[in-house]
Subunit: 137 residues, 2 copies
Amino acid sequence: MNFQLHERLAADTVPVTVGPLSQILLMTDANFPWFVLVPQRPGLRDFHDLDAGDLTLVTQEIVAASRVLEDSLRPDKINVAALGNQVPQLHVHVIARFHDDPAWPKPVWGVLPPKPYDPQELTDRVKAFQTAFAEGL
Amino acid sequence: MNFQLHERLAADTVPVTVGPLSQILLMTDANFPWFVLVPQRPGLRDFHDLDAGDLTLVTQEIVAASRVLEDSLRPDKINVAALGNQVPQLHVHVIARFHDDPAWPKPVWGVLPPKPYDPQELTDRVKAFQTAFAEGL
């Protein structure tokens, strides 16, 4: 069985980079700077399905994604979560939160519909994140 | 500076056990079997504030807590999250989710008010979890 990105995750994101374990994607929701990390292992559902080596890798990727958000955007908080109630494929959210973002202080899920990025803004943001990950991963 | 459990976390939980790094608490909300892991390090806010050794420890504790929930309750999903938008002290939620729980498939936060446990049920549940953690941590 080969790893294949879940179609819902593919539809809701654009690729940023690939870490030692995970595809690192950006949610196409301009409301929140929001990475989704998807370990490239087939058949995983829960965080604890990862073996010890992969847990170390995904943890390093979570830290790298958090630092990219922190260094580039100076958020007030980073939210990290593996929920997967809607999309069964294991994925980890790493989200920059601000005291004036439209969901604060609630979690971001389901609060409001995704806001499309301006295409140039999206291109610029992905490029800037790619540069930041190249230094940090 | 010494570690001290945040008063809000203390008020909303009962202690279950202590891992190599974290206090492992049970939310006193009978709607959801819900652990909160609080790394006993002063001054931490975000998951990536943990150093490499502590990241390994908390990850092992997340896995242990997930397995305790899975082995004892056979949930449909485990949710893992470090949010901290309301309580600034770093804490990690590990929650057993069921397709028929009152928030499914939404995240649990803010969906409905906490439901008090029956005191005997709470005592029994904590004892059962303590036994399970003693085998797994």
